[in-house]
């Protein structure tokens, strides 16, 4: 599904990612863990195509195609979704308007007709039920005045509406209390499927108790330092990132 080869990324003239190799198969859940400043968010923004994240070397293959030169909206309609660490507030634009614009952009790309208002509302009702999202949250402006938990639930709602082939979850646990975390994790778990891959980016092991990954990678100093199964996360929880900081300094 996603194959990253020798990825070097520069932001504002500073090289942040220094040769990442990562392969994610269909239906797999990968977790990337790492200390602050290791390049975790840079990786997620680069996959989603944010301006200013310049790929100087290497490639990102999505469904076999190099997407490095694609605009963010092209990547999105092709099936890449980034759940933001800090979802953006957009006053004056209703959440439903936003969801409908996004869904219809994706549908048009797939050669499907736009959903009409009735079809859209019916579809949305189904999706919001499990996430405990009130009607009021749909009518309000996108993320405006939402609590941290509401914002993250709104990200998961968008993911469930857009049905991406690859979802990148950037620090989805940050700012959530344990109850909110459970709701969000349940939402993500429900979206796991054999044809949907996920890449979860997190600083803390806590999230992995609720969303259990198939593989865990440690990112430090702009490189993947170690890869393993979920037991690697337990080890990090015990020992912290100190040894990787040392490896980084040595490198």
């Amino acid at each position: 599904m996603l194959e990253i080869k020798n990825l070097h990324v520069t932001v504002d003239g500073t090289e942040i990612l220094k040769g990442i190799d990562l392969s994610i198969g269909s239906g797999e859940m990968h977790a990337i863990m790492g200390p602050n400043g290791s390049g975790k968010s840079t990786l997620s923004y680069t996959i989603a195509g944010r301006d200013g994240y310049d790929v100087t070397e290497g490639e990102i293959l999505f469904k076999g195609e190099n997407i490095v030169d694609m605009k963010p909206e092209e990547r999105a309609v092709n099936g890449i979704f980034l759940a933001f660490q800090y979802p953006v507030e957009i006053p004056g634009v209703a959440n439903t308007t936003f969801l409908k614009e996004a869904l219809n952009a994706v549908r048009r790309h797939r050669g499907e007709d736009d959903l009409d208002a009735m079809q859209f509302v019916r579809m949305l009702r189904e999706k919001v039920k499990d996430l405990g999202i009130a009607d009021d949250m749909l009518k309000r402006a996108v993320n405006a005045g939402f609590s941290g938990g509401e914002k993250k639930r709104n990200e998961v709602l968008q993911m469930s509406v857009l049905e991406p082939a690859l979802a990148v979850l950037d620090e989805t646990d940050s700012g959530l209390d344990i109850d909110a975390l459970k709701i969000v994790a349940d939402g993500v778990n429900r979206l796991r499927s054999p044809d949907r891959s996920m890449l979860m980016i997190t600083h803390y092991q806590r999230l992995l108790d609720y969303i259990v990954p198939d593989y865990v990678h440690v990112l430090a100093g702009g490189r993947i330092q170690r890869s393993g199964g979920k037991e690697l996360a337990m080890e990090l929880e015990k020992n912290g990132y100190a040894e990787f900081a040392a490896e980084d300094a040595a490198a």
């Binding site: 989603a48 963010p72 999105a76 980034l82 979802p87 957009i90 409908k100 736009d114 857009l162």
Partner: protein
């Protein structure tokens, strides 16, 4: 700048030949008013960028172009289409002069009159005299007093409410050569009266035009008026509009200016809050591109205790457009418990666009609540990326963010039909002209 003083003062050649054809020429007081206005204009001279109030707005057109005064013949021009939002009462002026054949005046409730300035000058000259303030104003207001020809006069009697919004349309630029239009408008709201007014300023031709519009508004106790001005003239138009409001006890003046046209426009509002409980809300949204220049200048005087004012101006500038916001709130010594607020925010879509924003507070009372602020910035790149990352194309995402930015002002419009009409105007101004989708 140095050449300014060497040029003759615009309009002096035309106006000093005693304009006997202007309305009210047979009235002594009117002739006297015009003569004094003219003398003051000559004494004051054209405003220059050397003056504080005109520091950011240069009336270059008046230096470069020789305008003649619009006359009766200019009013008879054919006009293809006229704007209408509500389809109700509508007064139409072509090149500044009333056109009965294009206007619809029925449906006003008893107690309310709406007619042209020229008509009032004939029908009730004494009342009109009482409504025209001759004592104040800068040079362009003096010039207006000297040359005023026509305009609208709205008088709503005691405890009369005009439920349906009234529309007034000024169609300009309908000429082959540069013409100047001087309108004088009067809004008189007696005690307990209420009305809504929508003013359209638009062009039906390409000739350079200069229009100078002065409006006086007097609000009786507990009266309420809402005035929305939609400035959509073409880019050969230069427009100066100055509104002077006197608000007594518990009266409300509410205004919204949408400025989306003209080569140069300056919209001035001067509000005197003269009675306890008086309130004014001055809002504006400006959409400027090309090399156009758009100026909003406000002055609110809090003269007595317990008055409130609230101003919000938000605009979007593209290309090499320039906008000016000058807002002044003056809290006089007696005006305790004043609550005055003023906000100006501008979104710049181009590196060459420029905003000059000058919000000012002058406070001479010690127990007041006042706040002012001004910001300018570009489209939030993170928000843009957020929308794009959901599949929304960049151009549409930019438009959504501009709408989002202006939404704060638009939400303050009470009338839903008007709010939707203005939203449509904003959408049609945006690059691409529409959202390309259903926004319901």
């Amino acid at each position: 700048m140095s050449t300014q003083n060497e040029q003759p003062l615009p309009f002096t050649g035309i106006l000093d030949q005693s304009p006997g054809t202007l309305p009210g020429a047979d009235l002594d007081w009117m002739r006297d008013l015009r003569t004094r206005g003219y003398a003051r204009y000559v004494e004051q001279g054209m405003p220059t960028v050397g003056e504080e109030a005109w520091k950011y707005t240069h009336l270059k057109t008046l230096e470069d172009t020789v305008f003649r005064l619009a006359g009766e013949d200019d009013a008879t021009q054919a006009v293809d289409s006229l704007p209408s939002i509500f389809g109700g009462v509508r007064l139409v002026f072509v090149n500044g002069i009333y056109r009965a054949d294009l206007s619809t005046e029925d449906d006003l409730p008893t107690g309310a009159t709406l007619e042209s300035f020229a008509a009032t000058a004939t029908r009730d000259a004494n009342w009109l005299q009482s409504q025209l303030d001759s004592s104040s104003g800068d040079a362009l207001v003096s010039l207006n007093t000297a040359a005023m020809r026509d305009g609208y006069v709205l008088h709503v009697g005691k405890n009369t409410a005009v439920a349906a919004p009234i529309e007034v349309v000024f169609v300009g630029g309908v000429s082959d050569d540069p013409i100047a239009v001087f309108t004088r408008n009067v809004i008189a709201m007696d005690e307990g009266s209420e009305a809504q007014l929508v003013i359209h300023r638009c062009s039906a031709g390409d000739a350079p035009s200069f229009s100078n519009n002065v409006t006086s508004v007097s609000l009786g106790q507990n009266a309420k008026i809402s005035v929305t001005t939609l400035q959509e003239e073409n880019d050969t138009a230069t427009t100066f509009s100055s509104t002077h409001v006197n608000a007594v006890r518990d009266s409300v003046f509410q205004s919204l200016a949408l400025s989306a046209g003209g080569q140069l426009s300056r919209t001035e509002q001067h509000v005197e809050l003269n009675g306890e409980g008086a309130h004014c809300q001055l809002d504006g949204t400006y959409l400027v591109r090309g090399s156009s220049h758009c100026d909003h200048t406000t002055r609110v005087d809090h003269l007595v205790p317990n008055t409130t004012s609230n101003e919000m101006f938000k605009g979007v500038l593209d290309d090499a457009a320039r906008a000016v916001f000058q807002g002044k709130i003056i809290v006089h010594p007696d005006a305790q418990h004043t609550d005055g607020r003023m906000l100006n925010k501008t979104m710049l879509l181009s590196d060459k666009a420029e905003i000059d924003s000058k919000p000012e507070l002058e406070i001479y009372a010690d127990d007041v609540k006042c706040a002012h602020g001004a910001t300018s910035g570009q489209i939030d790149e993170t928000a843009l990326f957020y929308l794009q990352s959901r599949g929304i194309p960049e151009a549409k995402a930019r438009n959504l963010l501009v709408q989002s930015f202006l939404g704060e002002v638009i939400e303050r419009i009470d009338n839903e039909t008007l709010r939707e009409a203005i939203t449509e105007k904003i959408v049609s101004w945006l690059p691409g002209g529409d959202m390309g989708g259903d926004n319901s």
